[in-house]
Assembly symmetry: C2
Homo-oligomer: 344 residues x 2
Amino acid sequence: MNKTKQKFKKKIKDKKPFFLLTIGNTETGKIEGISAAGKNPKMTDYTPVADAEYLYYGKCKCIEGVPISPTGIPTPAILSKACTDLIKPNYLSIKTGLNIETSAPMVNIDSKPGNDIRKEIAVQNPKNIYENSKVVGESLSKNKDDRYYLLGESIAGGTTTALGVLRALGYNAMVSSSLEENPVDLKREVIKKGMEKSNISIGSLKGKPFKAIKTMGDPIIPTIAGLAVGLDSFIVLSGGTQMAAVAAVLKELNELDNTIIGTTKWIMNDNSNNIEELASKIDINLLNSNISFKNTEYKGLKAYEKGVVKEGVGAGGLMLSAEQKVGREKVTNKIEKTYKKTST
Amino acid sequence: MNKTKQKFKKKIKDKKPFFLLTIGNTETGKIEGISAAGKNPKMTDYTPVADAEYLYYGKCKCIEGVPISPTGIPTPAILSKACTDLIKPNYLSIKTGLNIETSAPMVNIDSKPGNDIRKEIAVQNPKNIYENSKVVGESLSKNKDDRYYLLGESIAGGTTTALGVLRALGYNAMVSSSLEENPVDLKREVIKKGMEKSNISIGSLKGKPFKAIKTMGDPIIPTIAGLAVGLDSFIVLSGGTQMAAVAAVLKELNELDNTIIGTTKWIMNDNSNNIEELASKIDINLLNSNISFKNTEYKGLKAYEKGVVKEGVGAGGLMLSAEQKVGREKVTNKIEKTYKKTST
């Protein structure tokens, strides 16, 4: 175990976990071929709600079964659920700009679904979203010091909006994808059009994080940033390159203290993203879980090794925490059991 | 300090407080002359939302100023806010059946506002409301044992619906009122009509708590009951006779363990209610704060001594906790300061 991981283990040793899953929608996620977070573009609206419901109830309510990718690979919520069953974090879902109604109990952040970033305005009032989310963070952690917070996301199209925000803030970013083949050309094209329409260029919004979100982002970025600042505790941004965008926003706000990114091995192994370089430039610690499905008999999990899905629903941070607590083998077994139970 | 209070003090000593404020509306609260939770019947819809907003932001958003009674006496949220500033509980508001939209962040329980209990059905699907609230409780307290939970309410008309539920369950109940002169005849008349319409009588729903809520209750009763069961921790039902109704429901469900009622001195001094007898019959410990405004120079607080408002927004339980932590004098001073700040 390397030094950073040892520090992490020590840090969470006497703290109890609280998992906050932020879910939202953006029209950007419906651009054909851009996201694997749903069987088809229309279904991507349902994926975040279905993920949150699955974590509350152990099953989805707004759809049959669980969210799957176009090739049938199931949501990383399965990995997350296995871990929440192991480490038993408090759990609450935060909804911020959804197209779909749900009867599942969630904290509502007053926010509209995100627009296609090729339009002028991607997110209306990101500062308000941030401020309201900060209030939630503050309210949940008034008497803190014995909790750490895992902040996860579920939003289709989120890596593309993350790319937009990172580029607008001046990072030479390459983001990952839930698809096995990262549609980098499509993303580049979408970003290019978005920047043109908003009359911005790479780095032109440095120092203006809310304008970067407004023109190129999605509603979950200001929500997770606000939660992190309000919670004012040890924060594990649980995700891949989307969390790099959140971290970049936090850095602009001078609020990056006591925050790390926790992601998966599959994000680290993906050469189409540069998360290590990004983390280093942002100056945030990046840790990854070592959970692997190399030896699993389950096709839907094995696909993760080929780079399908890779991350989401807080899976990275949750697996990282669970590994420290119960060891890699138990986590893998629990995920397999959860997968088996869910797919039958 | 009596024995029960000593036990309470010991019990919360090493625990951190979490305050959950459940808010809702019922048409029952709009019956002319039945509630002081608003300047006039129409305004009673706004009071619960305004109370919750005040606790998040220190000011209301949906109305100017703070909620007041018909005679201009301000909401007990002022007492509650002073206490939350002192004991710094985590705070979250739960909305369950509102007529008013709010941009303040709250957990939504899928529920419609309550009907006038003189109609056949007062609350649709109370069992669903209970089950969803239980999920929230479970999710918030997965890794418990170091927290205790103060459960408060804000709903206009809540003592009348509480009376209905208590009577339907067979309790010879007399409930308090936010008005100086408890409109007992009006309440009796409303209950009588409600029971006739629903074809029930005193005690006829013993063993059927959800039917009692469905015919005579309001949406906050199954919500707070569900939260209490899901949290499965030390629970302070923070309120007056409304919390006796919640306790009666919990007793029917065999879920009354580790739960007390925490109320105000003004509820205890009110001869129009029989909360002590109720608590004894339900077999739940009843504690009260000793905060008094006898010597205050502030008219709006002094009115509490005459029996106006008396309780609400968790004030009883919060003052009780704050007293144990910092002493009566500091609590009174803080309330006076908060009152002064709010009314200028």
